[in-house]
Structures are given as C-alpha cells and as structure tokens.
C-alpha cells in the first residue's frame, strides 16, 4: 500500500533513457545486431529462393506436371470408409483429400479424449494404496511404453482379423455383431426432431453455464452458494426431452442385417479404424499416466495433510486441492502427447486405415505430383498441430497460477 507521503516507485513512469544515435560502426551494438539480423534473413531468403527456383527448373526440364490443378480432377480412387458421401466416379481428388483430413481428425479427436481418460485412471491407479492396483498400473505403463507403436498396431490389427467371418460372427442378440469385418451396431435413424433436441441441449448448456456463473458471483458477494444441479438437470435433460416429446418422440432403430457378403445397414466400426484407435489410445495412455502421476506427486505432501486437517475426505482433497495444482504441471507435457497421438495416427497406412497420409499418398502416386502431395500432408499436420498447441496454451494460461 502506498501512503500519501512516499511515492511508490512502481507507480511512476521510468525515466526514459537518453536517446543515442546509432553509429555506423562495428563497435556499436545496435548496428551490429541489425547487420547480423539482415544477414541471417538474407541467407534464409536466398536459400528458400534457390530451392524453389531449382525445383521448378528441374520439374520443368523433366516435364513433370506441377501445380494443384489435379485437385479438381475426377479422382477415381476407391475409399474404404468416409464420413461424407464419396463416389469415385464423380468426386474429385480435392474431395478425397478432405475425407483424408476428416478420417485423421476422427481418430485423433476420439483418440485424445479416450487416451486422456484412460491415462488419468492409470496414473491415479499407480498411486493407489492398493498394492495390486498400483502394481498392475505400473506393469501397464512399463510394458506398453516400451513396445514400438507400429508393432502394437499390427498386433491389434492381426488380432481383429482373427475374429470369425461375418456368417459366424459373435453377436449380442440381433443388434451387435462382431466379426473380422468390424463391429456392426444398430443405428438410430436421425430425424429433424433429434436435431432440434440437440439444439435444445446446446441452449441448456449455455443456460447452465450462465446460471453457474451467477451463483458463483452470489457466493463471492454473500458467501451463500445457490445450488446449481436442479437447474442444470432441468436445462440439460428435461428441456431436450420435452422438445423431443413435443415433436412426437420419434425413435427408430436400423439394425444390421447379414445380406450377401456382408452386413447391410447400421453403423460400422471397421477393424482398421478399431485397431488404430485401440493402438493409439493404449500406447499414448501409458505416457499420459506417467504425466498424471508425476503431476500429482509434484504437489507437496503438506497440501494433503492440510486438506485432511480441514476435515475433507481423501477424494475431496484430490479433487479440490491436489488436482487443480497438479494440472499446472500436467498440461504442458500433455500437449506434446496430444500432438504425438495426432502425428502417430499417420501410421494408419500400415494397417490400411485411410487417413490423410494414405489418401494423399495414393493421390500423389496416381497423379505423380509428389511435391504437392507431401506439401499437402505437411500443411494438414501443421494446421492440426498448431490448433492443438494454441488451444492447450490457452487452457494452460487459463488454469495457471495467477501471479499478482
């Protein structure tokens, strides 16, 4: 606190340093640093220019087609699984490459979520007071971290291929079928009412967030915290249900049926996707488990003792005191693991899942435009990775200790 008589030095503006004119002399540090920076930038520009010019000249002299014109050409390449409609006879290479991105995102996003859940559970299990649980978690981490990922992917893929054929598939009733063609599951037939119910859920989500914020403000102001959960329940469950019921509560399930060579109808998780997802999640979870464990252990023992002295249960101490502090240690290395998982998904080519590398590889082979193909793959991974980094950095700043 500053008093009336003394002036806080932090409150007065620092006196400006006397302006010195830069001299054109090697002994002047400002001049020196400018010369070096100009030189370095110049060298980089020269190298890039040389490489680009040389590439162009060599491609031209070898009469190799260049440019991205092939993106609008009819693709003709078959694609095994696609989240959007694809027909080789009308779709273009551009469409095929977008499917590649979607397939990569499909495995990366779900993989990151599942690996985080599994890794956190295993990491906490390693610290369990139960000897067996702790040791099992330790074995999990040590074994899976030490085996090459490619080997694990091939293992899972071979395992899934060893399942019986579609006609002898393992099944739960007439709904779920497990065979070497993948897992067939019943699929709800999507109707407009469902979209509206989903919209109501989103509205409920925003409402709950606003309500929770208001109740937190109330707590800060009065010390009394209004309960949130009844309102949340109403907004998140009752509201969407009411919308759905009002529109006639449509509900229709499409069951997979064996016809000809394969199952028709219903949803499918292919062995290729399954093997890739299982492999990536299980492998990455072993690293995440270690990060979670080290994060929790980085919180001083005194925090536990202080929490317990206040009468909180062990679970409460973990949730309210230890985990929030551990998160600050956990988040930065976690970002690297998310990036690793995303990049490792490119191993999909080995087991026939058509991610962006697989489709771009086929495209560059069918069109012969290797440089464009590789540039495309690099741009896609760079974009995805930078997005993950940006989000995680934002989240890290959000939970960071606010230093005053």
């Amino acid at each position: 606190m500053s008093s009336a008589t003394t002036t806080d030095p932090r409150l007065t503006a620092p006196r400006a340093a006397p302006k010195k004119r830069m001299r054109l002399s090697w002994s002047d540090p400002v001049f020196r640093s400018i010369v070096w920076q100009v030189l370095i930038v110049g060298v980089i520009v020269a190298i890039v220019w040389y490489l680009a010019a040389n590439t162009n000249r060599n491609l031209a002299s070898r009469r190799i087609a260049t440019g991205f014109g092939f993106l609008s050409r009819n693709a003709g390449i078959p694609i095994g699984e696609s989240p959007i409609p694809y027909d080789p006879s009308i779709s273009t290479y551009g469409d095929a490459l977008i499917i590649g991105i979607l397939n990569t995102l499909k495995v990366a996003v779900i993989g990151v979520v599942l690996a985080t859940i599994l890794g956190t559970v295993i990491g906490i299990a390693r610290l369990s007071r139960n000897w067996l649980v702790a040791k099992l978690a330790a074995v999990y981490v040590e074994v899976l971290r030490d085996l090459p990922l490619l080997l694990q992917l091939l293992f899972w893929y071979t395992l899934l291929q060893a399942l019986p054929g579609p006609k002898q598939s393992l099944h739960i009733g007439d709904a779920v079928f497990l065979s070497n063609r993948g897992i067939k599951i019943p699929l709800m037939v999507w109707q407009p009412a469902h979209s509206l119910a989903l919209l109501a859920f989103a509205v409920g989500l925003i409402g709950t967030w606003l309500y929770a914020r208001r109740s937190r403000r109330r707590q800060e102001a009065t010390g009394e915290r209004p309960v949130v959960w009844p309102a949340a329940l109403g907004l998140l469950v009752a509201l969407p249900l009411a919308v759905w019921a009002m529109l006639g509560a449509p509900f229709q399930v499409e069951l997979p049926v064996l016809r000809g060579f394969n199952f028709q109808g219903g949803g499918l998780i292919s062995p290729e996707y399954g093997a890739l997802l299982i492999g990536l999640v299980i492998y990455t979870a072993s690293y995440i488990a270690e990060i979670v464990r080290s994060g929790i252990q980085s919180v001083a023992q005194g925090q536990w003792e202080a929490g317990e002295a206040l009468g909180l249960s062990r679970a409460q101490v973990m949730r309210r005191i230890v985990l929030p502090q551990a998160l600050r240690v956990i988040i930065p290395p976690m970002t690297s693991q998310y990036l690793n998982l995303t990049k490792n998904s490119s191993l999909a080519v080995a087991i026939g899942y058509q991610d962006v590398v697989s489709i771009a590889g086929t495209t560059l082979n069918q069109t012969g435009q290797a440089i464009e193909g590789i540039a495309y793959i690099m741009a896609v991974y760079l974009t995805i990775s930078l997005s993950i980094s940006l989000f995680m950095n934002w989240y890290n700043a959000h939970i960071a200790l606010v230093e005053r």
């Binding site: 590439t55 070898r62 080519v349 026939g352 560059l364 069918q366 012969g368 440089i371």
Partner: protein, 349 residues
C-alpha cells in the same frame, strides 16, 4: 514394414533431390560422349541401377542365395548386358508401388522394371515414358473356394483387398461403376500385409494383375487349391519398363534390348546355341550377333550388345521359361506375334 514407412521418406528425398539439383540433373542437360547422360552415368558407375518390387515371385524375388530372380529382374539384366557388356552388373533397388515413380524421376534408379501398367496419364504427367511391354496382363480376382464365387459379377457388396496407388484400384472402381455394383476396398501398401488380410478373411477377394495372383496362389503350396483365380479379366494391364523423358538415346537402348531378346527367340537363337551361329548366312542373325551392320554404334554401345544379351541372359522365351513357366502361367498372349501372341519385334536393321 520398413518399406511402408519409407514411402513418404522417399518422396521427401525426391523433393530434396529436385531442390538441390544433383550433378545428374545438370548432366542430363548436356549431351556427351555416347549422346546419353544416363548411359554415361551407368558406365562411370560400372553398374545399372534398376528399380523393381523384390517381393513378387516370378517377377522379382531374391532366391536362397540372395540373387534376384524373375522376369522384371532379367529385364534389368538384358539392359545391363547391352550397356555394360555384363548382365551381372545390376544393382537392384527395391521400390514400392507408391515411391517407384519418384525413384525414377529423381535419378535414384536408371530404369524401372516393376510390373508397371502403361497408361496415358503416367506417360503424360510423370515425365517418364514406357520403353517396352514385358508382360501383357489384366486385372483379376482371387477368391477362396469356400466362398463359392464363380464370376466377378457375383461380387456385389464384396470387400476387396488391393494395393493403393496401383492402376488395379482404378480398374476395380471403374468395373464396379460400369456394372452398377458396390464394393468396400481394403487398401494396404505392404504386399505381405494385404495378402495376410485376404488369407485371414478380412476381404472376400484379392485383386491385382492376374499374373501376380497366379504366382501368389502358386506360392501358397498345398493350400493353393483352396484359392480360385476367377476367369474374369476386367482390364488391360500392359506391364512395361520405364525410363525418364529427355534422354532419348537411353530410351532407344532399353527398347531395343527387348527387341533383341525377341528377335533372338524368333530366329531360334538361344544362350546355348548362339555361338553355333557365328558363320550363319542369315542376315537377321548376322546383324543380331553384330557380324554385320553398325547397330551397336547407332545405339552408342558395343557391337556385341545383342550377342551379350542372348549369351548372358537368354532370348525372351528362355527368360519366360525360367521365371514364369514354373508358376504355372501359360504364355498365352505374351507369345510371339507369329505364334498367336502380341510380342512383335520391329526389324533390327
């Protein structure tokens, strides 16, 4: 498995090679001693760099001694015999279906002999050209006998194993489109993985060139009888050897090496009896053996180039009988034109 991960690496390397423009690419611009920069490089190096698959029985697969055997491998040898006078001076470079063109474009290999289908867009866009067809093939289907499939037309809704980046995947997509049927492709780069997926039952059918299907079936030994090669051939797949554009003299040498092997077959000249023709009166044979004319000079190689091909590797029939016949594949349309086939050698004069 290494090959799969090496695919994009090879493309990257190609990018780097293009970017820095190695000595080879500079040489390619300037005509030299033989008139062919590639031939000069091969001579200076003392060996021919030849891209092949290395995984296909009958076409290119190392035997128990580590020697590369097969039609594609011998296709490299005849060019080495013509260019260097020694058929053994070939360095076989393993390429995948995905990095093969890049390997040739970037100068990693001097020629590509990898059961590659001659198509317009490959010749038009890749900066490469086809010198000769060494196998007239077509896309076929291999199915399990237990599936009871008799014709490709019965395979609506089937799951088909195929290697990505091949003309096969395009041919199948076209075939299903024309016949208004649907299929699910399983695309795996590594040939052992894709064959494993078919054998495990992941796919209903395995599709590639009928020749490769026949040799794959043959390689299954006693289990070959469980597999059926459908009689439907759904596309034309002329498999050829490729060279880079821009070096026409090298193209000539590769093309005429095949013509020499075919001409020898046509005239009954084999590796065993070639020396008995030394005093032959037949002009075709005299020119083939280099006793008459200046054909070697025209190609920029030794006058005995064709003699070396036949003596060291054999005529086309010998090459076929050595590599393809043991796989149980009949010569069929691959026979000489005067025996009902498509192989027609232009006159060597």
């Amino acid at each position: 498995m290494l090959r799969t991960t090496r695919k994009s690496a090879a493309a990257l390397i190609a990018g780097v090679v293009f970017s820095f423009g190695l000595a080879g690419s500079v040489l390619a611009q300037t005509p030299s001693a033989s008139g062919s920069a590639t031939l000069d490089n091969v001579r200076k190096r003392g060996e021919l760099l030849c891209g092949m698959a290395g995984t296909v029985p009958g076409f290119s697969l190392a035997d128990s001694q580590g020697v590369m055997r097969g039609l594609d491998a011998d296709s490299c040898r005849i060019v080495a015999a013509a260019a260097l006078g020694d058929a053994s001076k070939v360095k076989f470079v393993v390429t995948t279906t995905q990095n093969r063109f890049t390997a040739l474009q970037s100068g990693e290999v001097d020629m590509l002999s990898r059961s590659t289908t001659w198509t317009l867009s490959r010749e038009g866009n890749l900066g490469l050209m086809f010198a000769w067809i060494n196998y007239f093939d077509g896309t076929g289907f291999l199915v399990k006998k237990s599936a009871g499939i008799k014709s490709a037309k019965e395979m609506d809704g089937a799951t088909i194993c195929v290697q990505p980046g091949t003309s096969t995947e395009l041919a199948i997509a076209d075939y299903y489109r024309v016949n208004n049927m649907k299929f699910t492709p399983i695309l795996i780069q590594d040939i052992n993985e894709i064959q494993g997926a078919f054998l495990s039952g992941r796919c209903d059918a395995y599709s590639t060139d009928a020749s490769a299907l026949a040799t794959f079936r043959f390689s299954q030994g006693p289990k070959a009888d469980d597999l059926v090669l459908l009689s439907d051939i759904i596309s034309k797949e002329p498999l050829g050897v490729m060279v880079r554009k821009g070096d026409d003299k090298w193209f000539d040498l590769v093309r005429w090496s095949f013509v020499a092997a075919l001409t020898a077959e046509e005239n009954g000249v084999t590796s065993k009896n070639i020396d008995t023709f030394a005093d032959s009166k037949i002009p075709d044979i005299r020119r083939l053996l280099g006793l008459e004319g200046e054909l070697g000079k025209a190609l920029g190689v030794d006058q005995k180039w064709a003699y070396n091909i036949v003596k060291q590797v054999g005529n086309f029939a010998e090459i076929w009988d050595r590599n393809i016949t043991p796989m149980g594949v009949p010569r069929g349309i691959n026979n000489l034109w005067n025996k009902g086939g498509l192989q027609y050698a232009p006159p060597m004069r």
